[in-house]
Symmetry: C2
Subunit: 181 residues, 2 copies
């Protein structure tokens, strides 16, 4: 039995739409979207359809040259030349998953140093597990589409064959439905 959580593109699209409605219904009015790459790129682009704000991309990796894992995040790309524009702004920071919380916390600290008005965090999946980092105290708003067990999540953009992936995502949906019945 494959214990991974498979998610289809349409699952992601619908989840982002639901999150956009939650954000819109909240009192938080984002001025800009900041996408953490590369996992946040696709959710961020979909969110732009429902919350039409400019997207700034930041690239973070836990792999250095030669694909060797690194302990701390490495900046692939940052937005230094734009960051001063973030002062006083409401930022919606997006990633696909809140796993150990390390990447999100790192990005939040970096962004906070430029004195935005507020930063809210939006993810598709939050893994219910002990986090290795805490959010800075300035963070009060957190939007997650799914609260999931600490299992491996297979996103559609990582699929070698998208048709096979969709069959597995169908199984995941059925299993989750049974769990909640």
């Amino acid at each position: 039995m494959d214990d991974k959580i498979y998610v289809s593109y349409n699952d992601i699209h619908s989840a982002v739409k639901r999150l956009a409605l939650l954000v819109t219904a909240s009192e938080f009015k984002p001025d800009v979207i900041v996408a953490i790459g590369s996992g946040g790129f696709i959710p961020a682009r979909i969110l732009k359809t429902f919350i039409n704000r400019p997207i700034y991309a930041v690239g973070i990796s836990y792999y250095g040259i030669d694909n060797k894992p690194t302990e701390l995040p490495q900046k692939i790309q940052w937005i230094d030349e734009v960051q001063q524009k973030l002062t006083g702004k409401n930022i919606l920071l997006i990633d696909e998953v809140d796993d150990t919380r390390m990447t999100l916390s790192y990005c939040l600290e970096e962004l906070l140093s430029h004195h935005p008005q507020e930063i809210a965090v939006l993810v598709i999946h939050n893994k219910k597990k002990r986090k290795q980092a805490a959010f800075p105290p300035e963070i009060h708003r957190y939007f997650a589409a799914f609260e999931v067990e600490d299992r491996w999540i297979r996103y559609p953009w990582d699929a070698e064959c998208i048709e096979d992936h969709d069959l597995m995502a169908e199984k995941t949906r059925k299993a989750m439905k049974e769990d909640t019945q």
Copy 2:
């Protein structure tokens, strides 16, 4: 009759996979992927699955403050602090569509000023139409998954309802099959 071309996420995923095979089979060995945002974000992230290279994002918009259209592209985000790292590198520049060719040409000129080894262009759709800008003479490689008529292309990430969109994409696929029979 709806004359637009509807494309599903799985259509995009499979098209990017085919393009990745073409790139891999060519003599062009990309060092980095540059995604033109926001349309290039999703194809670029999928491409990363098949060609594992870092993604740099650039944001380009033809809409200024207050969503008013502008004649020339506006930089939402650029990669000044990274651009020097592009010197001598093979760059694969990605966007979702080659329409008027204005955005691609603008980005190519900007990137060429930093003396990369070579830049190749990759798009999902090329519209067969008179282009308003030409590629710089340094550009020799061009990968497009589909050559299409000058019709409105509806991408999945812009869908209000992804299920309705998929039904339309199914119709587009059927119509295109009939065209080629």
